[in-house]
Amino acid sequence: MVIEVIKPGLRTTVQDLGRPGYHHLGIPMSGAMDRYALRAANLLVGNNEEDAALEAVFAGPELSFTDRRLVAVTGAELPPKVDGELRQTWEAFIVEPGQILSFDFLKKGARAYIAISGGIDVPLVLGSRATYLLGGLGGFQGRGLATEDRLQLGQSMARTPKSTSVPEDLRRADPGEPVLRVLPGLYAHRITEEAARGFYEDVWKVAPEADRVGYRFRGGRPLQFVPRKPPFGAGSDPSNIVDAPYPYGSIQVPAGTEPIVLHRDAISGGGYFTLGTVISADMDFVGQMQPNQKIHFTPVDMNAALAARRVEAERLERLRSHCV
């Protein structure tokens, strides 16, 4: 009924689909950075898609099992091993009592989702089992896993899975030269037209600081701002505004130099202008980018953003009918 942590990996946390509804109180949504991958892992092992699983970033943990469980690893290409023998990602496999689940080096992506039949049974906090590390909230004692932790598992699977693997076309497509689609706003008027053109032309590289709070980018030209007299309540830096809410996916550029895409553990408001918001359909992919990966931003309108969201929703429906 428990798994024991032999090695935690770099930073492994319990995550589910998140904790919406408290953003106005400054509590971020948290939950899986790649929600599609989390859903897929859960469906493969017969869990409900919103059940809690493990999110491992860049390196996998080493876990010892005490009873027979079905396990699936999705998201990043982080090859799982059972007692040293390789297993496939995006496929369910059985781990017997006494066996050890470990991982090979990361091949692609950034975050792997490890779902175990029954789910990780940590207490619900504000309706979610997701870990919010900065706030010490939720998950396993509000923190990442550590050696010798014992994680309680749920009783049994919700149903018998219909399929034990996810077909290629329902896995994340390799985007090659990735492009993040951006809906411009809410403060795009603060930068010059030339600066906006430059932002969408330049190649940006993921900075090593990128984490669950935000993905920082480097490499493009600094932004030029439209001159103004700072309004009351805004700081003197041209990238400052009177405090405003930050949507999930919004892009702030402190001092106009390094854009930051706010992700699942980001704070909900503050005093930096935002030049746009990465569309929801591309946010899972942001969570799979490695440091130094090169990307472009491209502007889209609301219709294109909603169409992309529908494409994602249809893929999820196909995944559900394949697995359930």
Partner: protein
């Protein structure tokens, strides 16, 4: 003496010293004991020590100080 290539366990920025004003943790030719810190990889504002998993002699580094590395990329050669 056999030579083993040791791989980076995680992606990030590789450092050969513990701080900018400090000497390199290990130099080529140095003896290495199991558990010795060979370098540091920084990612997500976290510094992870890269420890030797076995003893030997450091033959040569395959990356430079402050290089960006990917998980599974060769870091150094160890003579064992």
């Amino acid at each position: 003496m056999g030579v083993k290539t040791v791989l980076a366990p995680i992606p990030g920025t590789f450092y050969r010293s513990a701080a900018p004003d400090q000497p390199a943790l290990k130099n080529e030719g140095d003896a290495v004991a199991k558990g010795d810190v060979i370098g540091i990889i920084e990612v997500m504002k976290t510094f992870t020590q890269i420890q030797a998993e076995e003893a030997g002699q450091l033959v040569r580094f395959l990356v430079d100080d402050e290089d960006a590395v990917m998980a599974g990329q060769p870091l150094y050669e160890l003579g064992v």
